[in-house]
Symmetry: C2
Subunit: 210 residues, 2 copies
């Protein structure tokens, strides 16, 4: 299972400030929620604002969630073996593109990218461990815990998942149907283990241990 | 699916040489095949020789493969959110232990570790994508392809998987039973898509596209 205390150890997202100092005046690329982010085999994108969904498509037509890149996290074709590999803005996002050559030439930049690559590794491994739970309820609980750690924002009622994932998104992340996710989320709400706010964001109430 | 050409792009395992220069005379820790590798919250292990299996245990008693760390790859508690987290030597291995403080203090060391963390990220993401295949045959084929890329050695007949994984290992890696793995491997052998050598190592014949 996930070690929830580990969230406290996660490196602060200081890469953005570092990058801004390094590349003062360099343009960011901005994408609106829902837009597909273009990928280049030589370019690593670093998220400066927002959250990007990484996924693949199977020949069956199924889509699988492979990661969520939040602030300071790197993603892109140089960091993956998967084809097809899709990146979609889950919120409005600002990205900075860096070539592998630029990263290799600067040990300090490489160190910062490396540090945040560790965050991606931890998250990806947590999703892999999640996929191994036999019961779909357990997979959903682990996914909510992971989302809480990765994109959770403290609010009065508890921790708000700062991105809006559809039930279909959640279903494809844990290998089940939309109908099952809707039923299980309803069950968690009924048990007081989940709140859905006016903007349809999920909130994990204070003190709830999923 | 996996991009098999990507294997050609994987960085050469030059970290060992780098580490040997940096820490001339520093002791390596050696473990025999089958031994459990002790873990410390502050220590990152770097593989100098051999292959280490990373896994977790579920309350159900099931074990899930989370990664295979080969030469130059880092692993350890600072790089994971998972508990319990187990590391087992799959072959005789030599490891070098580095503290997070040591890594943070040396941009060059951090750059090297970061580069090989990318390899771990790619592998972990590939395992996550593999877990999303509905058909167990497809998951097994993807696993063999990944093993070929990660621990494959060219031999006269094709590519030999340089570690010996039991059918139970393969089964837990792809969420199926040992019996099913045995049946499917037999099927692949029957179709000439797999060779098992005298030492019970798997060989993927030349030109076979799984």
């Amino acid at each position: 299972m996930l070690q929830s205390y580990a969230s406290r150890e996660v490196t602060q997202p200081d890469l953005r400030q570092f990058l801004e100092e390094l590349y003062h005046g360099r343009d960011l690329s901005s994408f609106r929620a829902g837009q597909t982010i273009p990928m280049n085999p030589q370019v690593v994108w670093v998220v400066c604002r927002g959250v990007v969904q990484l996924s693949t498509l199977y020949q069956s037509g199924d889509e699988a969630l492979l990661g969520l890149a939040g602030p300071s996290m790197p993603f892109g074709l140089p960091l993956t073996l998967i084809y097809p590999y899709q990146a979609t803005a889950l919120s409005d996002v600002d990205l900075m593109g860096l070539t592998m050559a630029e990263i290799d030439q600067s040990p300090t930049l490489a160190q910062e990218i490396g540090r945040h690559t560790v965050r991606r590794l931890r998250q990806t491994e947590a999703m892999l461990a999640m996929a191994g739970y036999r019961r779909v309820e357990d997979r959903l609980r682990q996914l909510l815990l992971l989302l809480q750690m990765e994109v959770g924002q403290p609010v009065a009622e508890g921790t708000r998942i700062s991105i809006r994932l559809t039930h279909q998104h959640l279903a494809s992340a844990i290998g089940t149907t939309r109908v099952t996710v809707t039923r299980l989320l309803g069950q968690l709400r009924g048990e007081g283990q989940l709140i859905v706010d006016a903007h349809r964001h999920l909130i994990l109430p204070m003190g709830v241990v999923l």
